[in-house]
Amino acid sequence: MIGPNGAGKTTLLSILAGILRPDGGTLEIGDGAVGWVPQQAALYRRLTVEENLLLFARLEEHPDPRASGAEMLELTGLGERREEFLARLSGGDQQRLNIAIGLLSRPSVLLLDEPSVGLDPRQRAKLWEFVSGLAGRGTTVIFSTHDIQEAERYGGRLLVLADGEALFDGSPDELRETVRRESDAAVAAAADRDFETAFVAYLHHRGH
C-alpha cells in the first residue's frame, strides 16, 4: 500500500486487522488467522525479548509457549539477545520482535504498517530479508510504506491510495506502463528511469 500522508493506509490496515470498524462496505476474510504488526512496536520495554514472546504466546494460548517463543527467536535471529530488555535493542531488532509477535498466531496473512520507518539502511535490508523469507514460506504479507523504491522492490502487487480512495491496483510494471501511456514523452522517460517519478506523475494525473 502506497500513498501520500493521510491517504488511509493505516486506517485500511486497521480495518483489515479488525481493530477499526469500517464506516461502509464489506470485508471478507478467508480461513486462517490474520497477523497484525502496528507501526510502533507494541511491546513491553521492561520485559526481555524472551519474556515478551512468552507473554504473547501465553495470551495466544499456545500449548507450549516456551517452544513457540524459541521458534520465533530462531526465526528472528534474536536468540543471542533473548535476555536483553527491549529498551536496549536497536530499532531494527525491536521491529523484528514486533513482527515475530505478529507471527505467533501463525497467520496466513500478515499485515505490516510501515515496518521500515526509522530504520537505517542496514537494518532495513535485514528486515526485508526477514519479511521476504516469510513470504517465501507462504505467508501473504500486506505492508504499507512511504518508501516507493521499497514498494517497487518488495511489493508484488501495489495498491495506491489517496484521500481514502483506491486509485490503482496492480503490479509496479503496470503502474509504470499506465504513466507512460498517460504522460508526455519527457515525463514518460523520467518515469521509466525512476519509479518514484512514475508514482508522483500518476498521482498528479489524478489530481493529487
Binding site: G18, I19, L20, P38, Q39, L43, Y44, R46, F56, R58
Partner: protein, 450 residues
Amino acid sequence: MRWLLLKDLQILRRSPLQAVLLVVYPVLIAILVGLAVSRGPGEPRVAFLNEVPQNARISLSGRKLPSANVQHRICEKVECVRVHSREEAEKKVESGDVLAALILPEDLINKINSLSTLSPGTPKVEVLVNESDPLKAGAVDDKITALLAQANLAIAKAIAVEGGKYLNLVIKGGDLPVLAGAIHILGLESSAHILEAIEPALPQGPLRVALGQVIEFANDAGENLDIAGPLIQRLAQPIEVHKVAVGGSSPPLETFAIAIAATLTLAFVTVLLVAGSLALEREENAFPRLTRGLVSSEALLGEKVLLGVAVGLVVTILMLAGLTIFVPLEWGRFGLWLVAILVGAGALAASGAALGAAAREVRAVSLLAFMVTLPVAFLSLVPSGTVGVGLYDVIKVITALFPFKPALEAITAALEAGSGSLGEPLLHLAALIVAYAVIARLALRRFARV
C-alpha cells in the same frame, strides 16, 4: 488475565524507584495526616512576665483573699517562658521564639481591688503578638482569649468562695479575723435562738409582738440567705456544658486518624497503580494488540482493577499492622477490615481505571490521579459546620462522587465497634464501582485508535 497480572507485577518489581515511591510516599503522607489529625498542636510557647508583687492579693472588704493561682493556671495551658523584662518579651515575640508574650502589670491587683471602691479602675493585662502571619495571629488571639477567660473565672471563683464564707458567717455566726485578733459575729441563727429564749419572759403587749417580728425576720433571713450561698458561688460559672450526641457516633480520635492514614494509603496506591498501568498499555502501544482477540477490554479493565485491589490491600494491611506497634487495634474485627478495604479498593481502583482510560501517557495520568485524589481526600476531611452551609453542600456532592469518603467511613466503621454503620458506605462504594467501571469502559474506546 493472570498472565497480564503477572506481567504487571513483574514490571512493577523491575521499577524499584517507582514501586518504592508508590508505596512509601502515600504511607508517609498518610501517617503525617493521621498524626496531624490525632494530635493537636503542642502547648504553645508564651513568654510570661509577672510584674505583680509576690505578696499582692485581691482583697474583699479590706481582707486579702487567698491566691487564685492565676499564674499556675495559665502555665498549665501553655509552655510559659519566664522573662524578666518587657524588652526581653518583645524580642522573643519578634524572633518567633514564642508565639506571644503575656504581661501582668505591677498595678493589676490594685486595679482589681479598686473595683469594689467608689473609684473603680480597669484591670488590664498586656499581650504582645507578632501579626506578620495572619494565621498565627488568629491562633494567638483565640488562645489568649481562652486563657484570660480561665484566669477571670479563677478570680471570680475565689471571690465567690470568699463571699460565700462571709455570708455563712452572717447566717451561722463565728469569728471574723481582723488584723491580729478576731471579732465574734453572732449570726442570724444564734440571734434568733437568743430572742426566742427571751420572748416568753416578756409580757403580752406591743413589745412582745415586735420581738416576734424580729425573730421571724432572723429565721427567714437565715433560711433564705442559706439558699443564696450556693447561688453566689454559681455566679462565677453560671452556665455549664452538658454535651449530648444526637447524631452519629464519633470514633476515638486515634481510630479516626488510623482510618484516614489507611484510606489515604489505599487511595494513592490503588488509583495511581491502576491508572498508571492502564495508561502504560497505551504508551507501549500494546492495547490494540491485546484487545485484538487476546483479551477483551472488560477483562483488561478487570485485570487492572484486580492488580490495584491486590497491591492496595497488601500495602494497607501491612501499614495497619505496622501502626499496631503504636496504637492498639481490634484484630478481632479483621474480617470487617478486609471487607471494607476490599470494597473501598474496588471503588478506588475503578476510579483509577476511569482516569487511566482518559489520558494517553503514564506521566499525565499520574499527575491527573494526584490532582484528583489529593483535593478530594482533603475535602473529605472538612467537618460540617467549619465552612458555610452552601459550600459544605458543594463539598458533600463532590466527595460523594469519589470513593475516598465512603471508603474512609467504611474503614472507620470496620476498625472499631460503634464508629458508625458499615453497610451504608459499602453500598455507596458498590454504586461507585459500577459507575466508574462504565465510565472506564466507555473511555477505553478511545484507546482502540492506533
